[in-house]
Assembly symmetry: D3
C-alpha cells in the first residue's frame, strides 16, 4: 500500500481537489490514478509535479504520442513497474499501436544492451562527436 | 582507451571489413565510430550487434527520428556518456532540432523524477492499468 | 518466495541465532525481518552484512535518522521495493515524520531528474568543482 | 562539451539573466555553474527546473544540509559524475564536514549493496512493513 | 499481466511455434516461460532475441554455468524481479549450488557497494589501468 | 580529483599502512590503486571494505576468476568507469582471456536488454519459478 495512503477526491482539501480537477480536465478523464492520490499528502509537491508534467507533456516540437513513448522508454529502462503500467496506458490513449509498442521495446532493449557494451569495452568518445 | 583497442578498417579482417562496409553504406557515411572498432575484436558480436541495430532502427511503425530519440532517452537515463554523444549525433542526423532535443530531455528528466516518486511512495498499480 | 527460503529463529543454527539476537538487541525489537532470514542460509554473509550495517548506521558524524533517510533515498532511487518498505519503517522508527518523508521524496525525485539533465546535455564539470 | 554549448550571462536573454540573477542571489554566489548555462538554451526548462530546485531545497521539515546530502547520495548512486562534483561542493558549502561525507558514502555504499542482496535473494516484503 | 498478453503454443502462428520448438529442444524442456510468450506478439523480435540468447549463452570460452551466473548477477543489479526468478532457475539447471548462489550474491552486493564508493569519492582511474 | 584527495603510503597512518600492506600481500603487488587511497581518509571504512572484499573474493564455491568476472559484469551494468577499468585489470590478472572478456560482455549486454524487455512488457513471473 502507498506509504501515506491514497487520498480520494471526496476526502481531499480544496487545494488538492483543484489539482485533481485540472488533471481530469486536461486528460479528459473522470478518474485520478494512484500516483496522484499518493502524492496528495504533500499538496505542494502534488501541484508542482502536476504543473511540470502538464507543461512538459503538452505537444510542442514533439507530439504527445512521441512524448508518451519516451516516458515509457525511460520507465522500462528503470524497471519502474508502476510507471510502465501507467504510461503504457497513457501512450495507448495517445494512439500508440501494438506495433509501435513492440518497436519501442525493441529499441529500449537494444539501447540498454549497447550502453553496456560501450561502457564494458571502455569505448572512448570519438572526436567527431565532441562538437 | 578501449579495453582491447580499436580496429581500423585497414587492419581489419575481411569479416570485419564486410560489417564496416555495411555500416557505412546503411548510414551513408564514410567513417566508422569507435563503438564498432572496439567490438571488432569479437567479430561474431560485432556482426550480431550490427544486424540487430540495423533491423531495429529501420523505419517501421515508428520513424527513424523517433527511434533515435528513444535511444537517446535510454542512454541519458543510464548516464552512458559514449551513447549520449553518439546518439545525439545520430538523432541530429535523422533530423532532430535543438527544440526537439530540449523537449526530449525535459521528458527524460521528468520521467526519471516521477519513477522515483512512484517507487518511493510505494504506489500500487491501479486496477484499471492491469488489463 | 525468497530463493533459498527463510530461516526462522527456532530452526536456526547457534551461529545464526547469535546474529538474530544481536539484531533484536541493537534494534530493540522482538522480531527479525525477512532480509536477514533469507541471508541466513549463508551465515558468513549474514554476519558480515549485519556487522557492517550495525557499524555504518550507528550515530556518528551523522545522526541515526539522517542515515536512515539516506538509506531510503538510495533505495527509492534504485526502485528496490523491499528496501523502500523496510527502510521507510526504519526511518519512521528513528523519528521521521510524514512531512520529512515528503521532503525527502521531493529531493530524491529532483535529484534523479537533474542527474539525467546533466548527463543528457553532456554538461562538463566546472573547474571550480575539481579541487 | 555540453550538447548545445553554454550560455554566459553576457550573452543571455533578459529571461535567462533573470534566472541567473535569482540563482546567484539565492545561493549568495557571484557565478553560475555549467548545469544552468547548458539548460539556458531552453529558457522554460531552465526556469522550471530552477524554481523546483529552489523550492525543494529550501529548509523545511529537513534542513538544507540534510537535503544536500540526500541529493549527493542519489547522485552517487546514479554515478552521475557532474552531479557528484556539484553537489559535493554544495553540501560542503552547507556545512558538510569530511567526517560527514565519509559516513554518507558508507551508508550509500551499504544501501546499494543490500538493495541487491534483497533483490537477488527475492526477499518478500514482510507483512509488518505493508501498513 | 503482460502488456499484450501471452501467446500459448496452441494459439501460435507457425513462425512463433518454430521458435518455441527450438527453445524447448535447445533447453531440453517441454514448456515455454512467459518471457517468450509475451514477446511472441512481435515474431521478429522473438526470433532475433532467441537467436541472440541461444548464440550468446552457448558454451564457448566460458561454460554455460558461468554465463548463467553472470546473467543472474546483471539481473540482480538491475533489480529485475522476472529475470532474477527465471535466471535463478536457469543457473540451477546448469548446476549452480546454493553455496555458489550465496557467493555470487555476495560478490554482486560488494560490487554494487564499491561502484558507488568509487563514484561517490570521485576516484580517478589509475594510469596503470589505462593501457 | 578524488574528493578528499589520495593518501600515499608514505603519508599514511600506521592503521592505513597496515591495510595497504595487507592489500599488497594478498594481491601480490607492490602498489595500491586509487580506490583505496581515496577511502583512506576514513580508515574504518577502508578496513571494513578491504576485509569484506578480501573475504568475498577469496576462492570458495566459485573460483577467483569467476568472481572477478561477476564483479566486472556488475560494474559494466552500472557504467562505473573506474570499476570497469580496475576490475578488467583484476580479471585479467586472474587469467581472463580476451575471448572470455568478449563472451562476458556479450552476456552482460544481452542480460541488460532482456531485463528491459521483461519489464517493458510487464511479464509476470511463471508459477514454476516461484518455488
Amino acid at each position: 500500500m502507498a506509504t501515506l495512503g491514497l487520498i480520494e477526491y471526496i476526502d481531499a482539501s480544496p487545494e488538492v481537489r483543484a489539482v485533481y480537477e485540472d488533471i481530469m480536465a486536461t486528460r479528459k478523464t473522470d478518474w485520478i490514478n494512484n500516483f496522484w492520490k499518493a502524492l496528495a499528502h504533500d499538496p505542494a509537491t502534488l501541484r508542482r509535479t502536476w504543473e511540470s508534467i502538464k507543461t512538459i507533456m503538452a505537444p510542442g516540437a514533439l507530439d504527445a504520442l512521441t512524448k508518451e513513448m519516451i516516458y515509457l522508454a525511460v520507465s522500462a529502462t528503470n524497471l519502474c513497474a508502476y510507471c510502465v503500467a501507467s504510461h503504457t496506458a497513457a501512450a495507448r490513449k495517445a494512439g500508440m499501436t501494438d506495433a509501435q509498442l513492440a518497436e519501442l521495446m525493441a529499441v529500449v532493449g537494444m539501447a540498454n544492451e549497447s550502453n553496456r557494451l560501450a561502457g564494458g569495452y571502455q569505448v572512448e568518445i570519438d572526436d567527431r562527436f565532441k562538437t
